[in-house]
Symmetry: C2
């Protein structure tokens, strides 16, 4: 760990230049970037990055799941994997995903430029459709890489009525051959993903490096409150069954879950009332809720508490509450060996770090269901992401990328 940056061939200027170059592919008028998965900008970014892979000594290929995978063999038969995604949300930021891919290629380039060959081969992934373009479930590519493609069915229709399978085919994939996209799982040592935090913790605490302890699980919940729509002037208060007032109690109870020792975060992000006019008591209100925690048992316990709360509100207000528990994205813990390695590297580089969970979902969450994973976070200024205002200081971008390189070298040295 005593190598200075120059010793290991790390070219920070090239990294920043490439991040900026990628930002121009799908640049939006608002200053962000729109590269919806499988669309023209996403495919153009993939082509650009494939060229950089070749320069870095990686052999790129587009797999059956439309992932761009670059490989450079090592001295032994095992692999270390890294990477992230190139697709973005609509008018998203320039770093989300792209930074982790560019940094992964910089890792390969550093090895290539210095003629160094690791014991492990290096596998660099640009996963397809992490974000869930056009209303799809997302994480399409990473699922296929670990043989879980059945969890993201190719029959799924997007908002345009087009199946994921058709989108895949258009992007150079083969929806009938997704099995072929699966990595040689027994031979992969670990997957390490570098990413911006997309939250305020590092910025708030002034640490340049986040050692991700795990990725929080997410439990969705759809609530529909059925009350009685009625005239807001003529219906006495004691004869009302106001669906919005009941929903307001539910929103506040959901918000109080973390305070009361429940899940890590709980959010009601969606509300829709009917008939939704000022002079009619709301008859029906739908809420979209999600709970996140690193511990599946905590999520399970919170669900029971929420069910009980909803039943209490229904009885107290004479309304009906339909609750439909939706998608559960299970929490994933980081591999202790990867966590230890990132901490060691950050310490050796003199970078202040903290352990923190990832509240956002990442491809590493999918890979981590099958393989050992870890993540390195760098600060998001103001915690902003999925926005043209997404930003990370250049020094932090460089420190994170170098930490990724050193972490992979550290893992290579220890597990050879």
């Amino acid at each position: 760990m005593s190598d200075a940056p120059s010793d290991i061939g790390f070219d920070g200027d090239r990294l920043l230049r490439r991040v900026a170059e990628l930002a121009r592919v799908g640049a939006s008028a608002a200053g962000g970037v729109t590269r919806e998965a499988w669309g023209p900008a996403d495919l153009a970014a993939r082509d650009l990055v494939a060229g950089w892979m070749v320069e870095a000594g990686l052999s790129p290929e587009v797999d059956a799941a439309a992932n761009l995978i670059g490989r450079s063999p090592g001295r032994g038969g095992r692999w270390l994997a890294t990477g992230s995604h190139l697709d973005t949300v609509v008018d998203g930021g320039t770093l989300d995903g792209a930074y982790g891919v560019v940094a992964a290629i910089e890792v390969a380039a550093s090895l290539h430029d210095t003629g160094r060959v690791m014991e492990h081969g290096l596998l660099v992934a640009a996963f397809a459709n992490e974000e869930g373009a056009r209303g799809t479930s997302g994480m399409t590519g990473s699922h296929a890489c670990v043989g879980l493609h059945a969890d993201t069915p190719v029959e799924e229709l997007d908002d345009d009525g087009v199946t994921v399978g058709e989108r895949l085919r258009h992007a150079g994939g083969d929806p009938a051959a997704l099995d072929h996209a699966c990595w040689p799982l027994a031979d992969v040592e670990a997957f390490v993903e570098l990413h911006i935090e997309q939250g305020p913790v590092l910025d708030d605490t002034g640490r340049p490096i986040g050692v991700v302890s795990g990725i929080t699980g997410r439990q969705g919940l759809d609530v529909v409150v059925h009350g009685a729509a009625n005239h807001a002037g003529t219906t006495p208060m004691h004869l009302r069954h106001d669906a919005l007032a009941a929903a307001a109690e539910i929103v506040l109870a959901i918000e109080s879950l973390p305070r009361d020792g429940g899940v890590r975060v709980a959010t009601c992000g969606h509300v829709a009332a009917s008939p939704n006019v000022r002079n009619v008591i709301p008859g029906q209100v739908a809420l979209g809720v999600e709970l996140r925690d690193q511990d599946a048992a905590v999520l399970d316990a919170a669900m029971l508490g929420v069910d009980a709360m909803l039943a209490r509100v229904a009885v107290a207000r004479g309304v009906t509450v339909d609750a439909r528990w939706g998608q559960r994205v299970p929490p994933v813990a980081s591999d202790p060996a990867v966590v230890a390695s990132v901490r060691r590297v950050a310490g050796a580089m003199g970078l202040a770090w903290i352990d923190l969970p990832s509240g956002a979902g990442h491809d590493a969450q999918i890979i981590g269901r099958v393989l050992p994973i870890g993540m390195i976070f760098v600060p998001s200024v103001g915690g902003v992401s999925h926005s043209p205002r997404e930003r990370t200081d250049a020094a932090d971008l460089l420190a994170g990328a170098e930490a990724l390189l050193r972490t992979l070298l550290d893992l290579d040295g220890r597990s050879r």
Copy 2:
């Protein structure tokens, strides 16, 4: 008050038949009726009713405000006025407004059929645009009848971008001559409006007649909560400024106003959140609120309390709350002489009655700003109105109409 129905020429079958006939003009697929003001169905209903006016010995005319007014002179120079409106909300009920117009014509017909001439002339009004078609303020016609047309400006644009003035012209009115629609105010003794309750009180208490003590005032309020939209997974609870959670506190505080001794009823009927997706903390929420009370001073006091509550929520949650107090429709008290007359008549007819305020707005509320008014309510089954399920038992419809006739005769006898 000893006349039996037959003695006073009251034809209940004709009344029910005409209510049913009107229900077919603009009948909706859902079993209700859609006669938006100034539209084809509304104008067709007006033509139909004008014919009934002629049969009942009334001289009908369409005034400059597109009201249909039928007059039958009395022995003296003064007038008693009655009526309601023919326009409906979209997919509304068959009784709201129409019942009061048909019953008013039945009053005239009863006098005509029995050759009876009152001391007062009878003025029967079918007011234009009570409901506020296509997003307009409503009560257009009744404002003009008492010289208040400046309060419902003809420049107002409806949801289709058409001015009220253009709508009026299309419906046979003359927006430049609204002064001519004003009644001879000094010569009008009183206006009495018969209407379904549109609320549950009479049905709930089993009384066929409601003696309306006054019409509650209404105070509108638009609230916009500005918080901070952020990632629902990565933003710790203590760093959030959740606009929907703040709005939920406001909704519950508004609902508690009547319980805490404030206004008679308070409602939050409208909510709109942004960006309104499950996995983003709501950054902005708009609420549409209204408060109703019979006492303007109570409304004033409640406004101060609401302003204080909003400021507390803003400070406690680190959000900005913009409150815009909107339209105030002032409360109107019924004229004591009309109230006394309705009570006397109901008692003489052996009908159980109670005093109650009108929570809904009515043309009588506008007329009452200038002239003595009163209202008679009949039960709405289940309190339902503005709905195809709006219903009143035939016996109650007949009792109410006969009470209207007898009230006008009583007022005529006492003030001659």
